[in-house]
Symmetry: C2
């Protein structure tokens, strides 16, 4: 039984491709994790998520602890059993959603006290409770509990959040290690903070490496700072993380963000974009995004993306999908989400193959030129 083993099979510049072996299955890297917020990748059946090429999905601690509740999920056999997904699941720590979604939030050294956005009930998330919730869910890759601040907040606030996140990283590590069976088969990732400040990023990375984790996330990015600033930060932040362990860029991103980040050495991604866009009529294609609500698609007999092998594209026309989206039909969300997840997974496959044959630079520049011409 392999708890967690990351093997890199090829590199190209700073980029790497390989496999993370875990008990519930292998994760090919660079990997994109579809987001299954409330124990469902929205509008998709689990086997459809898998058929799109996903090796791992993400579950949201904040959402699941509020509804249906972590203790309830545990009682029902854990998140995998509950939602019918038997491969690895990474759970976030709740740290991001608690700051962005909840109300009456109060942050102390102990943790974050907040009111549920669903019913106003009061809850507490601390490093210990976050890890406990992730354990109750049966998470395969557990994220440390951290504190986020805006990249536009004061340097003092950024330093304080970074320092606190390190103390919370240690408490997360300790709580995880007390997890018994769960600790024997799950992995724990630390999260580098420090906003866009190189010195803070370095201090954060060093402190996390001292504590020791199975993988390291670059946190606090993709929160409105813009692509240029994000990539500028990755240029110095990624190299601070261990070369032989997975690096995860949280909450990213658009297809071009992902290509640029893989070039800079990132191995894992998650983002709601392919699923959320699927519900608003936006399709991702190699030639940039398309808004299927646009009247110009009303009689277009091409598939969403010509050449795409996904079930939505091999069966239905843009004209039909346009009709469904305009009519608010559930099948529209189903088909668009399916196409978008296939698009993201095919992009990851293309990146992995390009790294193997040492052609990533050419792949990336061709992809970006084509994608950005219309994006």
């Amino acid at each position: 039984m392999t708890r967690f083993a990351f093997s890199i099979s090829a590199t190209d510049g700073l980029a790497r491709t390989g496999v993370i072996a875990m008990e519930r299955g292998e994760i090919r890297t660079p990997a994109f994790m579809p987001v299954g917020t409330a124990a469902t990748v929205k509008a998709m059946r689990p086997e459809e998520v898998r058929a799109a090429g996903a090796d791992i999905i993400l579950g949201n601690t904040y959402h699941l602890m509020l509804r249906p509740g972590a203790e309830r999920v545990a009682k029902l056999g854990g998140l995998h059993e509950f939602m019918g997904w038997d491969r690895p699941i990474l759970t976030d720590s709740g740290g991001y959603q608690v700051m962005s979604l909840s109300e009456l939030t109060k942050v102390t050294e102990e943790g974050v006290s907040f009111a549920s956005h669903l019913d106003g009930s009061r809850h507490m998330l601390s490093p210990e409770r976050s890890i406990e919730v992730q354990r109750l869910l049966g998470s395969d890759i557990v994220m440390q509990f951290d504190q986020l601040v805006a990249t536009t907040s004061t340097p003092e606030a950024q330093r304080e959040a970074m320092d606190r996140s390190i103390r919370w990283a240690k408490r997360s590590r300790d709580e995880f290690d007390r997890g018994g069976d769960h600790a024997d088969r799950a992995a724990l990732f630390g999260i580098q903070q420090g906003a866009l400040d190189q010195e803070l990023r370095k201090q954060s990375a060093d402190a996390l490496i001292d504590i020791g984790f199975d993988g390291y996330a670059v946190g606090g990015l993709a929160v409105g700072e813009g692509q240029e600033a994000m990539l500028g930060c990755l240029d110095f932040a990624v190299g601070m993380l261990p070369a032989d362990q997975p690096r995860y860029l949280m909450g990213v991103g658009k297809p071009d963000d992902i290509v640029e980040a893989v070039v800079r050495g990132i191995d894992m991604f998650d983002c709601v974009l392919p699923t959320r866009s699927g519900r608003t009529g936006q399709a991702f294609t190699a030639h940039g995004p398309l808004n299927l609500r646009n009247a110009r698609f009303a009689e277009d007999q091409d598939p969403i993306e010509p050449g795409c092998p996904c079930p939505a594209c091999t069966t239905f026309s843009r004209a039909y999908v346009h009709h469904l989206v305009k009519s608010g039909e559930i099948l529209g969300a189903m088909l668009m989400t399916q196409h978008n997840l296939w698009f993201y997974q095919r992009l990851m496959q293309g990146l992995r193959e390009a790294i193997v044959v040492q052609r990533l630079a050419a792949f990336a520049s061709a992809f970006l030129a084509r994608y950005r011409r219309t994006a």
Copy 2:
């Protein structure tokens, strides 16, 4: 090539089972037709509708003529090609929706002028236009255009609507027969009217039989008159229709309605109940309907219906479906709709098999006792 051939393989009392052979496939009777209002059986992929056991689906002339438009569907290759369903489709005439959904409706001998419920644009439906729209859609079973009135309207209004529906039946027949290729491969059904009045029903049936149709619908029922009144009407109305042609009870119904109507000699049904209920959390089971929103299902590890072989029941628990439905997740509508369509199709299969072995009375009384105990 078989245009339309109904062969009865077994009878049991007034009930019959058999097959309608058409160019696009065979329809096993008694048949339930899932409703695909806007060119989609809501929340289901075409292959999932087929896997549930459906041989034929229903499309709505009123909805499709307004959006995406009949001429547009024709340009895109017809409704089958547009929505990815290659088996038979029955289209209604628009007569029911134009009275129940549209606004500023004006009925004359020529037809019905109305304003779209979508954008207020004015349209006209007449027997000729209704048949033309159904031809543009590429319908396999075309319904005559008729006039509905409430079963509670005055005897004079009921007689006038019945008489007008006969004149419109003749105009529908004539327009259908001018359809060239389409008339050579599609079928046309007449619709008996006459509310709950035995004499009117008889006059309507005789006049329709004089004109001559491939099948006959019992129209104007399931519009609020109650099950007892509906079944009372079927007791005399069904026998007025030719024994060797299909009889279709429009817009029916609940599972117990269907069983009672099959016992009375009905061969075809359509209803939005399994799909609509699927989107509001109501599941059909042999022990009556269940509301999955109910808190008592929050930790129930049984499937929606124990023993049901549908993909929703073989994969997921009531607790999970309860969570999805409470959270407003699209997957909840997908799974509930799938179960409900399987339930309806399994009921039809049970009825067909019971007729073959001459055990319909026992099947029906056992089903109704079990279903109504909790319904």
